[in-house]
Amino acid sequence: MLTHKKTNVEKLAENLGNEPIAGRSLWRDAMHRFSRNKAAMAGLVVLGLIVLFAAIGPFVAAWHYSDIDWSLMGNAASAGQPSIANGHYFGIDDLGRDLFARTVQGSQISLLVGTIGALIAVVIGTLYGATAGYFGGRVDSIMMRTVDILMSIPYMFFLILLLVMFGRSILLIFIGIGAISWLEMARIVRGQTLSIKNKEYIEAAIASGVRPFKIVLRHVVPNLLGVVIVYATLLVPQMILTESFISFLGLGVQEPQTSWGALINDGAGTMRYGTLWQLMFPLGFFIATLLSFFFVGDGLRDALDPKDR
């Protein structure tokens, strides 16, 4: 027993001498924690599949998303069910268009709005919050009061107002959704910046004469990355929700383009006629995506949250 142990220890000592000890960075740690979270990993896989669906869907679809299948038009309820034989894998919609192709198109728009909207929010929110937090004092209080005021305005109505005044366009939706959703981000980032700016490395940067804006960009923002990533993941589903909300009301994307919200609206309008698949396919994609994003976001928060370390 004793000798056995000794050999083990000797082996260990030998190994220690041979192999260089690999350091584990914070990011490696986080990745490890994330990969152990089953719900988050499942969410990531589902998201990957949905992105794949949106990316290669157009090549799989037998029909174009705006083409009407004249042979089936008008009897969606009796002949438009999902079928492999006639190429309508998800059935047809009320006007006789291929629902598979339309779901693919809707997924593309919804995912795009989600990511681009979140991206705009992240860029504006991070820079704004970091600036306010880093400079502090009067700058901070003016900037954050502005955020407070903007936050208490019902932005959805403003977005719709904008869409009505300046005409509906997908570009305006991108910009509008991104531009109103950076407020929460700015608050979170500011809070983090307040704790970062007293760190020694910031002091060192100040002492060596780095200019303030450069400190914000070089030294503050990179250290905010963890928080920013977590909230960006939670922002994407919010953006998708907002876009779907507007499209559900018929004020978002314009025909023949579509999005999940518009598809759900169409499906909900026709479900009384027995064409339930028109609601279920877009609804399924919508719910699966949102659930996955929430799980991934939760997983990331658990993985990157310094409190749990």
Partner: protein
């Protein structure tokens, strides 16, 4: 406390002014006017019309007249679309409806959400907890525009228990589905927030002290745990209220309840600027007022806040 309330009101008023001015300038910058039509109106007539509706005055005067009319007599101007109705008529007919089911949605979300969260926290890591957590997760991905068709599918088309729309003067069976559809996602969020804050409170030192003293558990929960655990919930009520106001647009258009959201949507589709503005300003005012109330309530319950 009094100073805090005053200061909070002092912030709310400029916010309201910004809201009104921004929507006014948006309307002003939109192409075309209320009297633009395909057949040109004689210049003299146009001048008279413009003078009657103050459209010949400079912008800032128009804005101040607009605000003055709203403040003094709730006059949001005439609708551009419906010939014999002004915006106030539309608001008066729609607003009570929205308020009624909105109130029940709020009661539904807060009542069930808080109870679910508290039960989940008290029975941490049991089947009851997991059920509550699953309900919260599922509820979060079911926003009102998803919830509404699902509810109609189940309770109207399959079971045939409830009417699928309409209002009928606010009879109870016409309120149930709109209220549930509107409230579900907020119920989920409230349950989640309550659960986590209740867990945190239950693990804190003063609760342990109370238990060590031998106080009955029920008494500890009601007397010591519930109030601090409600703080995050109260601060969530502001955003929840905004969300519900926004969501009412969906509910009104899906359930044809005839609430104020229908006028907003019709206004948006018909480019009836006066109506959209009126509704935006009304709902915005409501939002800002409610946010202010929430802040004041929060300051009142939370002893840590200094004013």
């Amino acid at each position: 406390m009094f100073n805090f309330v005053l200061r909070r009101i002092a912030v709310a008023i400029p916010t309201l002014l910004i809201l009104v001015s921004v929507s006014f300038f948006l309307m002003f910058s939109a192409p075309g006017g209320p009297f633009t039509s395909e057949r040109p109106i004689p210049a003299a007539v146009m001048e008279n019309i413009n003078a009657k509706y103050n459209l010949d005055k400079p912008v800032y005067q128009q804005l101040s007249i607009y605000i003055w009319n709203i403040v003094t007599e709730f006059d949001f101007g005439p609708s551009f679309r419906y010939q014999d109705r002004d915006v106030l008529d539309l608001i008066q007919s729609g607003f009570p409806v929205t308020l009624t089911y909105g109130f029940w949605a709020f009661v539904f979300a807060v009542g069930i959400g808080v109870s679910l969260g508290v039960i989940a926290a008290l029975k941490h890591n049991t089947a009851a907890d997991y059920t509550a957590v699953s309900v919260a997760i599922v509820g979060q991905v079911l926003p009102n525009f998803v919830m509404a068709p699902i509810l109609v599918l189940i309770f109207v088309l399959w079971l045939g228990w409830l009417p699928g729309g309409g209002w009928q003067g606010g009879q109870i069976e016409y309120i149930i589905l709109p209220a549930i559809a509107l409230g579900t996602s907020f119920l989920a969020s409230i349950a989640r927030i309550t659960r986590s804050s209740m867990l945190e409170v239950l693990n804190s030192n003063y609760i342990r002290t109370a238990r060590a003293k031998g106080l009955p558990f029920r008494y500890i929960i009601w007397r010591h745990a519930l109030k601090p655990a409600m703080l995050p919930v109260v601060s969530y009520l502001g955003p929840a209220f905004v969300g519900m106001i926004t969501g009412s647009v969906i509910i009104d258009s899906y359930f044809t309840t005839g609430g104020i959201g229908v006028h907003f949507i019709n206004g948006a589709l018909n480019r009836d600027y006066a109506v959209i503005m009126g509704v935006t300003i009304l709902l915005g005012t409501l939002t800002i007022t409610f946010n202010m109330l929430v802040d004041i309530i929060y300051a009142w319950i939370d002893p840590k806040i200094r004013y």
